[in-house]
């Protein structure tokens, strides 16, 4: 395995943007000079069905083309997935980190899990609702992930997301600003924990 390679797994429900988050994060990392792989898990996915997506981020070329089995971090976009999917599968209790979008506290989430490792909770849906106006948790969860893992400078992520959204939402500047605010707020809230 490459030194300093980070592997990330995203859990979400079809339509929540787990794949998009993995791709956006990967793209941001590439623009920050890293080598990246970002890929979704393909199955019979539909709106609401549990889906997963992955990122590999490293300083050197990544030649491995296997699925990720031991992620360094797991991001869960919907806490109800904890009951449906083994979200901590392959995640080390010593070095791994689990980041969950939930209004519940760390202790309450811990009760649902047998896994004993570092848990970070964040009400990303609420942040998104207040900043973007829609409960789409993927962009704030990217901020949370960067805060929790330090895989890149948060400013890289913010600049890159801004650049991309400017192309996509030329006529809706409020969407761009909202997303950037969401990333920043999530980053800061996680940094405080």
């Amino acid at each position: 395995m490459l030194k300093n390679m980070k592997e990330i797994r995203w859990h979400g429900r079809g339509g929540q943007g787990a794949k998009t988050a993995a791709l956006l994060l990967g793209e941001a990392a590439i623009n920050a000079g890293k080598y990246v792989q970002a890929f979704p898990e393909y199955g019979p996915e539909r709106m609401g069905a549990p889906v997963a997506a992955y990122d590999r981020i490293a300083d050197e070329e990544i030649s491995i083309h296997s699925p990720i089995i031991n992620p360094d971090a797991v991001v869960v976009l919907d806490e109800t997935l904890i009951d449906a999917v083994d979200v901590t599968k392959g995640l080390s209790e010593q070095t791994g980190v689990l980041i969950i979008n939930t209004p519940f506290s760390k202790e309450e989430i811990q009760k649902k899990l047998t896994w004993r490792g570092k848990i970070i909770v964040l009400d990303a849906s609420k942040i998104a609702l207040e900043t973007i106006g829609k409960p789409i948790p993927n962009t704030p969860m990217m901020g949370a992930l960067v805060a929790a893992t330090g895989i890149m400078d948060i400013n890289h992520l913010i600049d890159d997301t801004k650049h991309k959204l400017e192309k996509k939402f030329r006529t809706k500047p409020e969407v761009i600003e909202g997303n950037l605010q969401a990333i920043k707020r999530a980053y800061e809230e996680v940094k405080k924990q």
Partner: protein
């Protein structure tokens, strides 16, 4: 040269290469996991970024037929497909190569049904190994991009004039986003050059017949000529691979040799698994085992000589096949490598494996075990399945 570093999936990389190649005609029909290629390319057509005439056919059989007509009319022609789509093209693939039309196709490797499966293996491409097409396998998005650009030059070379398919592994590469170094449009245009067709149906000054009946009198002579063109393509592929390296920075050959100089144990495979094998090689070398990889980049023409030279000093060799030919012997790669060794009168113990069918995952740990399995190999063994539920 100003290279642009972007994030692209395999399909996006292929579509970008097609945009830069800017073919005269594309005829295609969508199929998972290749659909995105033409979907993205169609936006380039709609946005006027290419001058391509895009033909949306009603089946792959029709798409390849349109490609044959277009190429016979002197147009630089491309298409993309996968699995069942490639199988439906089967009949026309032979016509394309028989008429010596340098069509370039992006093929996304996917398992052939049945049972129905959409994930990666090489059964679709291997099923067309006798179709007279040049077959180039790509390890990652970058290679898919680089290979497609080179394929245009190779196919159109006057000593070759054969169609070529460039393959990527379905989903693993086609839908995996990676770092891609893109070269400037004008450099690509300069590299591929202007297309000068060998013949042109639309030239009314010089009317010709294409696709005439050739019976017992000359059919065999035409196949012999195709055989020669395939043989010629080896030098062309190598030359163009070197030239590509000089201009764009990464050289290509028929095979890629990875840490084989002092290797006792060598593994042969193709496609994305070669990348995973490189990690296994690194890890085993740290453990003190002298291992290496031979990645077959070009499967047709088969680089028998290069492979024999690369592996002849090894103590034993493992061969991974990502398709089942159901001959009960071994997969196509192992069978051909064994034949090449026989021709060279070299008797190295071989252990052939079949793995990864229908997208079955392949891990570094499994590949390490493959290397370990040939450590004390005394004689060639029958084929075994890797990663199957026993």
């Amino acid at each position: 040269m100003q290279k642009t570093i972007v994030a692209r999936t395999g399909n996006e990389a292929v579509a970008e290469a097609m945009r830069q190649i800017n073919p005269d005609v594309c005829a295609a029909y969508p199929i998972t996991p290749a659909t995105e290629i033409m979907q993205i390319f169609s936006t380039f057509v709609a946005d006027g970024l290419v001058k391509t005439n895009l033909i949306t056919a009603e089946s792959e059989h029709s798409a390849m037929s349109a490609c044959v007509g277009s190429a016979a009319s002197g147009a630089r022609t491309m298409t993309a497909t996968a699995a069942q789509g490639l199988a439906l093209m089967h009949e026309i693939l032979y016509i394309a190569s028989g008429l010596r039309l340098p069509i370039v196709m992006a093929d996304v490797n996917r398992a052939l049904s049945g049972p129905i499966n959409i994930h990666c293996d090489h059964s679709d491409t291997m099923a067309e190994r006798d179709s007279g097409w040049i077959q180039i396998f790509s390890e990652n998005s970058q290679e898919a991009y680089d290979n497609l650009i080179q394929a245009v030059r190779i196919a159109e070379h006057k000593d070759v004039l054969l169609p070529a398919m460039v393959t990527t592994d379905g989903f693993i590469i086609s839908h995996g986003m990676e770092r891609l170094e893109m070269y400037p449009d004008e450099e690509i245009q300069k590299f591929i050059g202007e297309y000068k067709p060998a013949y042109n149906l639309l030239n009314v000054e010089n009317p010709i017949t294409v696709g005439s009946l050739v019976l017992t009198d000359y059919y065999m002579e035409h196949k012999r000529a195709q055989h020669e063109a395939m043989k010629n393509s080896v030098k062309v592929i190598k030359d163009i691979g070197k030239e590509f390296g000089k201009i764009f920075g990464k050289e290509y050959d028929m095979i890629e040799k990875y840490k084989i100089d002092d290797a006792d144990y060598i593994l042969i495979c193709l496609g994305s698994t070669a990348g995973t094998t490189k990690v296994a090689v690194e890890e085993l070398r740290q453990e003190g085992m002298k291992v290496g990889l031979v990645k077959i980049r070009v499967f047709r023409p088969f680089p028998a000589e290069d492979i024999v030279n690369a592996i002849k000093n090894a103590k034993s060799v493992a061969i991974l096949d990502r398709s089942e030919s159901l001959s009960t012997q071994a997969g196509p790669v192992a069978t051909e490598v064994k034949a090449a060794l026989y021709d060279a009168a070299i008797n190295i113990p071989i252990k052939p494996y079949i793995y990864g069918l229908g997208g079955r995952e392949i891990y570094v740990e499994q590949i390490k075990n493959v290397f370990k399995s040939i450590k004390d190999l005394k004689k060639t063994e029958p084929v075994s399945y890797l990663g199957v539920k026993e």
